[in-house]
Subunit: 146 residues, 2 copies
């Protein structure tokens, strides 16, 4: 499965960029991860660009209205998508003003990391750690403990 | 208010340590933050050390059974604690095996960042960003947007 992590705006937190690269490297044996940032603009322009860039992909949209699930449940979801032969997954992280209703409606899954609001580069970092955790759970590796 | 962030085990993720130091610095105008790591051991030994180290402090224990709240609600909680003249707050992050029942019972507040399991240095990083966000909300600064 190929993961396309799509977010908005130039990265500002260098420690987050280092962490994101770290988890992308650790994920390498399990899945391909490509992180891409799109230009900031109005909410409408950002959502339109994210929609365009994820055309044909399975869309996971990070949104405060989304589902709250455990790391084990995320691993189980990835299993399901693999069984359904999903090839390209887009993880879509909005800009400061969030997503348009159109982008939300186009989502295959709406996911909420937390009730808390995370700076969006931290949201990206947390997402990558969750993908890594999910793949280690799937592989039966000891990284995740209950 | 003085915040004592207590966690277990030597830090392993250097990017997380950089991020934690970054937010501790940003928090400086608002509150004193001291981060301290205690030695890893059995769950009982870790919880006993965390309990001992936080004696006399208002105890916030990070635990999966805790409350899920928004960043704005966290800011409101800090206001309440300030009104109650809380001086020293301990934020207690457990080791890999979590907390003992005794430590949980001693908590003034049980807080859950997410249903997801975060690597504990990421939990620390997220916690510091939430404290920073809460203080900017209280100060009416533009960092947080709904």
């Amino acid at each position: 499965m190929r993961w396309h992590i799509l977010s908005i705006g130039k990265p500002k937190l260098s420690f987050a960029a280092t962490g994101i690269a770290d988890y992308a490297g650790r994920l390498n044996p399990f899945a391909q991860i490509k992180s891409e940032t799109l230009k900031a603009g109005t909410r409408e322009a950002e959502s339109a660009a994210l929609l365009e860039r994820s055309t044909g992909m399975f869309r996971i949209v990070l949104d405060e209205r989304g589902d709250h699930i455990t790391s084990r449940a995320l691993a189980a979801k990835i299993d399901t998508w693999e069984q359904r032969s999903v090839k390209n997954v887009a993880v879509i992280i909005g800009g400061a003003d969030g997503h348009t209703e159109e982008l939300r409606r186009s989502a295959d899954w709406l996911w909420s990391l937390s009730k808390l609001t995370f700076q969006h580069e931290l949201a990206l970092l947390v997402t990558l750690e969750q993908l890594y955790r999910a793949y280690t759970i799937k592989a039966g590796l000891p990284y995740h403990r209950d």
